[in-house]
């Protein structure tokens, strides 16, 4: 087990257009990347629960060339719409930093 924040060089989130959120997780080395690829804590079910979205709305991609994992899903509220707490989606990755994998 490891804390995701300890084995990554970057975790970030941003809007991909006003209606989608995309999260990038870039690993320090290949071993960390492989560890998380096969981790239970990183399953579709766990991620859906963490972000409180439907698992059918979740897109997870393993990007070998960048040693990165990309997670994308529709925003609950469109960018800048009533009730939006984060117009550019900049801080929505926060719960991943302490995630045990």
């Amino acid at each position: 087990m490891a804390r995701l924040g300890d084995i990554t060089k970057l975790i970030r989130s941003k809007n991909a257009g006003p209606f989608m959120l995309t999260i990038d997780i870039m690993f320090v080395d290949r071993d960390s990347f492989e560890l998380v690829k096969s981790s239970e804590a990183f399953s579709i079910g766990q991620i859906s629960r963490l972000f409180n979205i439907h698992d059918t709305d979740l897109i997870v991609q393993f990007v070998e060339s960048a040693m990165a994992i990309k997670i994308s899903f529709p925003r609950q509220i469109s960018s800048g719409g009533p009730g939006d707490t984060d117009v550019f989606g900049c801080q929505q990755y926060a719960l991943l930093v302490d995630l045990e994998v």
Partner: protein, 301 residues
């Protein structure tokens, strides 16, 4: 493509446009000159964010790209910045839900077979970028509508006794405010009040895992929306006053709960909008764009 038509057909030297695909601004001229769209679109994607694809960008700066039909090379302009193969490869992920495919009006950029290599200690060469032309030309149409006018109040709370019961206190302020609002504006159901607690769940809202406030200081953001600015301002003044003296059980007597950084506490924010259209229009002929987008040529100087 509208940019290309403006430039090539009418001899424009400068094109001023409204909202467009960010990458199109940089891909327009190479495409017009017949360059291979794969390296062109990919280079455009990297440089449209300026120096974002460097390893550590502390302030905004520019990126330089050299494009050929077989590859492109990117290099940052600021001396202390540098690109690595991973920093450039990682940039295709930025602001894009699909790591390897970027949809543009003319088709899709496919970076799945790209190779990234260093050509110096700061420049990176990229080969293998492919552009798949769509059978149909598409244009993304976005629309926005007015939601109302907003007034906000920022306030701090430091009293541990209030912070101990902060969730119930906020609920109480909200309830009392809504009763007062309906007394003042009985026929108006377009007034909304939201109170956000920074220090607990201001950023993540109902996705936040921590369900109890734990800090020694809280920031509250009150947000009032109404159909006119004057109404929003009036409601905000009322809410600020209700919040300022809303009691807790522990303290007996009139208390003052909110540290306002400004006077007046109410800050009119102006009109608020929301997106109401996210549509892909299929264009059978790029000249149809003339019907969608107005274009005019002016001679200056």
């Amino acid at each position: 493509m509208s940019l290309l038509h403006g430039l090539s057909r009418r001899g424009a030297n400068v094109v001023l446009a409204g909202r467009s695909s960010d990458t199109s601004i940089f891909s327009a001229i190479p495409l017009m000159r017949g360059f291979n769209p794969g390296p062109t679109w990919h280079a455009a994607k990297v440089i449209e964010c300026g120096a974002a694809a460097v390893t550590l960008r502390s302030f905004p700066d520019a990126m330089f790209a050299r494009v050929s039909n077989q590859h492109f090379i990117v290099e940052p302009l600021a001396d202390e910045y540098y690109c690595t193969p991973q920093s450039v490869a990682a940039h295709t992920l930025y602001e894009n839900a699909d790591s390897y495919h970027l949809v543009e009006p003319l088709g899709v950029l496919d970076t799945s077979n790209c190779k990234y290599e260093s050509v110096s200690d700061r420049a990176v060469k990229v080969t293998g970028s492919k552009f798949n032309l769509s059978e149909q030309y598409t244009v993304k149409l976005e629309g926005a509508e007015l939601v109302g006018y907003q007034t906000i109040i920022l306030a701090g709370i430091r009293d541990p006794a209030i912070l101990e019961v902060i969730d119930d206190w906020i609920e109480g302020v909200t309830r009392a405010s809504k009763i007062r609002i309906s007394e003042l504006f009985p026929d108006n159901n377009e007034i909304s009040l939201v109170i956000r607690l920074y220090g607990k769940n201001g950023v993540l809202g109902d996705r936040e895992l921590k369900d109890k406030f734990e800090g020694h200081e809280a920031a509250l953001l009150f947000e009032i929306t109404a159909s006119t600015q004057a109404t929003a301002n009036a409601v905000a003044a009322t809410v600020a006053h209700i919040g300022l003296h809303y009691p807790i059980e522990k303290w007996h007597g009139l208390i003052s709960t909110l540290a306002f950084p400004y006077a007046p506490a109410e800050i009119p924010r102006g009109p608020a909008y929301q997106f109401n259209m996210n549509h892909v229009a299929i264009i059978s002929d790029p000249l149809e764009l003339r019907a969608l987008f107005r274009m005019s040529i002016h001679e200056i100087g």
